[in-house]
Symmetry: C2
Subunit: 355 residues, 2 copies
């Protein structure tokens, strides 16, 4: 999901946070919610996942201005029991709803050992990994998932009828901060086809099908209605269905085509759904033991002899944590497209940026 | 995971159940546990997953006779709270431990909306899908997973240092029985390499690496120490790690190489771990609504226009349910290798089979 920084400029984290927060408060988003959005988008960029960082800010503003997202909506509890809670984002922004739902799930998992919180009538919630890592940073195992509008063909299908449903989990470590895994269900992001097309290269035949459902190795088919395939055929398809079951069927959110694309229908409640599952290691032998055992697992994974041409084996999340530490020290090497979209967001909301 | 039946014989379900149960009671497994094992192995064959059906019976007997599995061990509760429970199979058989753990998780999820039960000091638990479907058949969403001894190379690695960790989920439907998804983490099962090798065919380069970690399209490398790769590179690797975190790190079971192979070390406690997560739709808008919404999801998936050359799009589990219904009517078309192993189990335990 990363893309190259188009210039050498690195943006201080504080400056990006402040800018992003100003943009959202300027369009009536409550200060606390605007801070959650700014923290989330900037942290995502810090981790090198530029596709889900501040580049999204202007899209959220588009939806607010089109009336599809209510900037002041508050998370509502629909069904509540100690560790199973169904909520509604009430047509508001995805990120603050997801953070509040995650915090609720964490609070209940701390008390009861495990908790599930679902969200419906929400919107794009940024990077799934933000919410899972929020759990790991508090000593909890977290899963985070969301459905999307249809973007991927089921195995054997010739039409995108299921979402690219992001899924993430994270687990706390001791000497290692955590394990963090954050994926979508297509083989590759659209960006890879765009790059291959620009370079005149062929792509593997399991990445996309053309608009008629035929196999293709031509990346330019994405400009003619090509459809993304799920990773590992029926395996990616099955995981996409799992996320749909928990984030939409269980949560009471839009199922497949009932989720409205914020690109194509910015003026409508997207009715996206999310699901957060949090497990507390204190109820399973204690957090200290869990962290030590996570460390042992990581030690063993990274000690795997590398294949020829590979420097060393990494654990899930290692690259993101390296990016984050680097960005905290030296600033965020934002791609030009991200800078452009943050500028557009500022223009849309009448905010003057300090850069 | 299916293989071809090597003859036209179909075995009545009752006959297989009775035979399998007799074999296990003959080696001191309590009648109730033997029945669970028989039901599980035969149901797995009925679903067409012959790699995890009665073909496993003789291996379990091998381990009991070698002293690695205690036939009379009972599931012990290590830490208990209403919806988060850590148990130990106490060195006993994997299947009865997994059924009891699933039933405990279901009982608690019925009361509290969600429950997590882990198991350690267990052994091979057969097909992961058995336990997830047990939940779906009772109106619950279930996840089932287990670690294994190291069988797969992490992405970039040249040695198998993580398990082929099975993962399954199932969700109840209304007019459709359920959605059922049951996978392992390698690209393909070893059986596919054996078939390709026998037919003198090449295999795709992302299936295995040779014993030195080099890419190969030669299936005969599996006879020279080739290593399985995870599906979809870092995605399969990350899911394998998730299963290891929940089934081993959280459960207190053997982590990676601390799980003993029942092939190589049948005389040792395998210390395999499992994890079951059960969610009750009654706490999220009600089971009736959930079933209707699962049906709607399936309706939309199967209505996807098929790609050229494909008859129709299927939903996860559809093929297994078709096999099961067929086997119930006409008997189980067991492969010869399954028959042979059941006969070997009978011979090992001094049981005379009725076929």
């Amino acid at each position: 999901m990363s893309s190259q920084a188009s210039n050498g400029v690195k943006f201080p984290v504080e400056l990006l946070n402040k800018s992003c927060k100003e943009v959202f408060t300027a369009i009536d988003v409550p200060a606390a919610d605007a801070e959650m959005i700014a923290d989330t988008l900037v942290l995502t960029d810090m981790r090198g996942v530029y596709s889900h960082g501040v580049i999204r800010s202007a899209h959220y503003i588009d939806c607010i201005q089109a009336g599809g997202i209510k900037p002041t909506a508050e998370l509502q509890i629909l069904n509540e029991s100690p560790c199973a809670i169904r909520t509604s984002a009430a047509g508001g922004l995805g990120i603050p709803a997801a953070i509040k739902a995650t915090d609720l799930a964490m609070e209940r998992a701390k008390q009861h050992g495990v908790a599930v919180v679902t969200v419906n009538h929400s919107d794009h919630y940024g990077a799934a990994g933000i919410y899972a890592m929020r759990c790991a940073d508090q000593g909890l195992f977290g899963m985070s998932m969301s459905n999307t509008c249809p973007l991927v063909a089921p195995t054997g299908g010739a039409k995108a009828t299921i979402g690219n449903n992001p899924f993430s989990y994270a687990a706390p470590g001791g000497k290692y901060r955590a394990i963090l895994f954050d994926i979508c269900m297509s083989v590759v992001a659209t960006g890879k086809m765009i790059i291959a097309a620009a370079e005149g290269k062929k792509i593997p035949e399991d990445w996309i099908i053309d608009a008629n459902g035929n196999p293709t190795d031509d990346p330019t088919e994405i400009y003619r209605g090509a459809i993304s395939l799920p990773f590992a055929a029926h395996k990616g398809y099955g995981f996409a269905v799992m996320v749909e079951l928990l984030s939409a069927v269980l949560a009471g959110a839009g199922i497949t085509k009932d989720v409205h694309s914020w690109n194509k229908a910015p003026g409508r409640d997207a009715n996206t759904g999310h699901c957060f599952i949090v497990i507390n290691p204190e109820f399973f032998g204690g957090l200290d033991e869990f962290k030590k055992r996570t460390d042992l697992l990581i030690d063993r994974l990274v000690a795997t002899p590398p294949a020829p041409g590979v420097d060393r084996v990494r654990y899930p999340g290692e690259i993101e944590f390296e990016h984050e530490a680097e960005a905290l020290k030296f600033g965020v090497p934002l791609p030009q497209s991200s800078v452009d979209e943050l500028r557009r967001a500022a223009k849309l909301t009448g905010v003057k940026l300090d850069f």
